[in-house]
Symmetry: C2
DNA sequence: TAATTATTGTGAGTAAGTTCACAATTGAAT
DNA sequence: ATTCAATTGTGAACTTACTCACAATAATTA
């Protein structure tokens, strides 16, 4: 591993993919795997797999491949899945509800500990084990709980205002479902599902690969 | 516009962003806009905006900017928002339900015309105006309806089997929420929300920008 | 009319990301 | 022990994407 190199952003997304792939291999009882096989399962090139992993260390054995169990554990450290992240969801509409109910997040150690909404008619509504709290209770909640991440699932016109409120607290990042660019110093990851639809449609219409 | 150039994939995603931005400008009553202003709203460089647009034509006026209304209409043609897309959702779990109820899609001309699930206990459940149909009715449905896109919101272990079923029909694309690589000739757009969480967490932990 | 200011469109230059290609290593077979 | 086949890790080449910088153009002002 040549150190100090900056890790390309796409590598980061692929690490999660590799981790999931290794999990499956482990469940299938496979002990050693070659970059070629991982690549085939993910539909990418084997050289990509090797280079990506090489940013973090030398995990393989030449002529043999990677020990599934061992590499899995390395990836756990790298992508930090072992740490439990406390998450609150702001906005209890369709997206907020789906996030709270989505079992995949819990499985990956994202622990949802609160749901907030500004709409009084939604307050008290049960979502799994949680019930919706009014947005005005946010400060009280932050005083009593450690919150790492906030899922922002509010309407577009409310998003920037909520972010400004969030800046008062000490959160580590925001997953933003509102289709606007948030102005903030807090790290933000934007998620936009309609863009995925549009992107697909564009490819279909233009036959661009 | 220099023609025949292949359009970079990231440009395609940004076109949707530009369109949405233009809509807002239009609503705000702004008649002309400079690439610099669009860029500022989206948090990117103005040269990027101009170059992206230049793949499709020359829409601006030097020294003045772009006519909002006019550019909006051009973008409509380019990204094909004017066409209505018929969509079915397979899988009526959390994600499937959220997709069906998500008003953003309807607004963008993605028209959900059916929801299917293999779980008999879900069949008949009302989701907005639609009710869940059993997966075995799929063929009958395809015989009576034109379906452009399929949203795949089934568990990971069912996804590949569903895709093989879908290959019998003449659909144009798949939005895949299952965390696996689908083996198919049909154009697929993968959506993975847990990857967004992981990517954010990775950035937070490593301070990589 | 000439100067001034604003802004586009794009070729050329950078930067980022991917793939190639091969020496180095490992284990198995002869 | 030697050969053979498999596979890694990585520098170098290549490809893709982004940014710069400036000529060209348009509107405004003097």
């Amino acid at each position: 591993m040549k150190d100090k190199r900056k890790i390309p952003k796409p590598v980061i997304k692929r690490m999660g993919l590799y981790y999931r792939c290794l999990n499956k291999l482990y469940e299938e009882g496979i002990e050693y795997v070659a970059s070629k096989d991982i690549a085939a399962r993910l539909g990418i090139k084997s050289s990509q797999v090797r280079k990506d992993l090489s940013y973090f260390g030398e995990f393989g054995k030449r002529g043999v491949g990677y020990n599934v169990d061992q590499l899995m554990k390395k990836l756990e450290d790298i992508i930090g899945v072992n740490k439990i992240w406390n998450v609150i969801v702001i906005g209890a509409g369709n997206i907020g509800t789906a996030i709270v109910n989505y079992p995949g997040l819990k499985k990956e150690k994202f622990n949802i500990i609160g749901v907030f909404d500004a709409d009084r008619s939604k307050v008290g509504k049960k979502l799994g084990k949680l019930s919706v709290t009014h947005f005005s209770e946010l400060e009280k909640f932050f005083n009593k709980n450690i919150v790492d991440l906030v899922v922002l699932a509010v309407p577009e016109n409310a998003a920037q205002m909520v972010v400004e409120e969030l800046e008062k607290y000490n959160i580590k990042g925001i997953i933003n479902f509102a289709p606007i660019k948030l102005r903030t110093k807090i790290p933000v990851e934007d998620v936009d599902i309609t863009l995925s639809f549009k992107s697909l449609v564009f490819r279909i219409e233009r036959e661009i690969k």
